[in-house]
Amino acid sequence: MRPLLVAFSLLTSSAAMAQAATSQEALPTPPASEPREAVEPSATAPQQPAAPQPPRANAPTVPEASPSIDERLTADEHRVEALEEQNTETKNDLSALKKLRFSGYVQGRYQYQQDLDDSGAGGYSRFGIRRGRLKATYTTDLTQFMLQIDAVPTGVALRDAEATLFVPGTKQQLSVTLGQMKWPFGYEGPQSSSDREFPERSRVVRNMLPSERDRGAKVNARYKFLRLAVGVFDGAGIDSGTTQDNDKEKDVIAHLGFDLKWLAGGVSGWYGHALGRLPSDTFRHAYDRSRIGADLQAYFDVVPLGGTSLKGEFIAGRTYGAANNAAHLDVPAHGWYLLLVQNIGLNDAVAVRYDTFDPHNGQADLAAGELPGADNAVDTVGFVVQHHFGENLKMSATYEIPTTHAVAQALDPHDNLFTLQMQARF
């Protein structure tokens, strides 16, 4: 045991000595140009540092050799340089992070719908999560990446996945986007659901632009007050039930708009085909899928309570509806809405909307027993009161009264709908 201890003691002491030697060697040698007094100990200073002694009473204190002003300045300059370097590094990291932006919103709801008929059938009282969106956007001078998902009780679905190139030299006024994105048609379709006053889009937009999105390529251009968006899309939309287009038909969709600050609007066009087979067809046929639209938004400052806006949109088209648009193949339809919004102070607003949709132009209103026909026109009047709790939370109460055109003994269904919605966004 004793020899072992001796060996260990020798080993540790030699290691310590070696370390000390290395440290001495690593000490920097002063540059030749540096002033002598800055590097050489003063003549009065001891060769070896003496152990500190308690100061004697009344004894004059000997000032320790302090670094010269030059030395201190040099040291400070080095420190500042080091800090500047760190600062630059941090700024570089932060500038990269600043290009990445996360945003999103959740819409929680309570809804009550009247019984649809006098038998007590239909209607509901339920809580739900209408939208749970999370969006990531990374934007540089030349490119933009955007991905948006929707997490709701039925699952998580991809809403948008866009890759955009801003054409160099155009200050982002001209861009090309490929991926899954909103159709460039009209006003309410492309508008974010988080900005809308009413919980759902008007009936005509829901039918003509189901899910509002599709896969395709789009060019966006802006010149002064003019806006142009034109794209080529698969055409059936992301609610069509297919994850890829299985035909060679493509739809061309465009919106030409203007923005004069207090007045904005535009015209839209859509031309394409939907493959399908009507009962009279032996084989599938490419039926026209087309739309024309016009939209206008006016913003006023006439009521002393706050801003007022009036928005309207008209859409007419052929072949529409969800599920591969086959439900209304080759059927002409049209509809429009008018929306009036009045702000009251900074945090409140009231709105009223009238929308109408005729699902089959030229077809007389029908009755199916005591109920109106499925393709009868529907007019809806809706009222909203909304309140902003700060910048992140909006609460709205909406009451909508749909009136289905009825004939003979058929009655307008009792389908008035109350929606209380709380929207949190960041």
């Binding site: 009550y112 001078d141 200050k171 913003y299 706050g306 409140d348």
Partner: protein
């Protein structure tokens, strides 16, 4: 049931009707370039109108415009024009187009060392210098010496102005040294004989303010040239509001635009709009 639903709806509506805004206080937030100016205006205005309180804070143009969107300020100060996206957000949220009021003008000035024999450059030459395409003073008629570039931090409105107006949106040369304020830029240029920097109009020893050439004429960043728009690098300093100014906010803006208010603009070092 319809009656019950309608009653609930009306009750909710009444419950959320707005509380009256805090009377007597106008908040002004935004551009750091404009903070001192707005503070001077506020001091002078509050002396005349003791019942009104004007709260002025900085944070940058973007911060002010964001506060306007969020409803946390009455007036946003901005040394740049509002962006389309910001304007769209304001319209969507408040259903009215925002109002812009130009309250002062500023001339972005390029400085060189006092020993530099150059007096004027074109915007194109300045662009080439700051993009790093021109690296020697000789190329623009000066001495045979390398150009030392000084710039501002990217959070500065002046940086954004130069980037957009002079560089056409392109990035500054990597060699440009970033400094935290106009005073730092002026100081650096006064010490570096081959230096060039930019900022607001500055009257300091050791530097020379460059004129900017437009055609055959060269314009100095004087009050007259900035006000008339002849100086190519002049910009407006704005107050932005959610809607048309009214009440105390309007009174404050009217004061800023009055002869007394515009005299303060000159005292602070900017140029009057009237």
């Amino acid at each position: 049931m319809k009656k019950t639903l309608l009653s609930s709806f009306v009750a909710f509506g009444l419950a959320v009707l707005p509380l009256s805004a805090q009377a007597g206080t106008v908040t002004v937030k935004g551009s750091d370039t404009m903070v001192i100016l707005a503070q001077r205006w506020a001091e002078a205005f509050m002396k005349k109108n003791p019942a009104t309180k004007i709260q002025v804070t900085g944070g940058g143009s973007g911060t002010g415009l964001a506060a306007l969107q969020n409803g946390t300020t009455d007036i946003a100060m901005s040394s740049r024009e509002i962006k389309e996206a910001e304007e769209e957000k304001l319209r969507t949220r408040y259903n009215t187009p925002p109002t812009a009021v130009s309250v002062a003008k500023d001339g972005v000035t390029f400085y060189v060392n006092a020993s530099n024999k150059l007096d004027a450059l074109t915007v194109e030459q300045l662009k080439d210098i700051y993009l790093g395409d021109t690296t020697s003073w000789k190329a623009v008629g000066g001495a045979d010496a390398p150009i030392v570039l000084y710039s501002r931090e990217n959070s500065s409105g002046t940086y954004v102005f130069v980037k957009d107006t002079v560089l056409g949106g392109d990035d500054f040369a990597a060699a440009a040294q970033t400094l935290p304020g106009t005073a730092a830029v002026v100081n650096a240029v006064s010490k570096e004989k081959n230096g060039i920097g930019y900022g607001g109009a500055a009257y300091a020893k050791g530097i020379k303010e460059l004129k900017v050439k437009k055609g055959n004429e060269a314009f100095a960043p004087t009050a007259e040239n900035v006000k008339s728009g002849k100086y190519p690098l002049s910009r407006d300093l704005f107050f932005y509001l959610r809607n048309k100014p009214s009440g105390e906010a309007k009174a404050f803006i009217d004061f800023a635009l009055s002869a007394e208010g515009q005299a303060i603009v000159t005292q602070v070092g900017y140029f009057p709009v009237k």
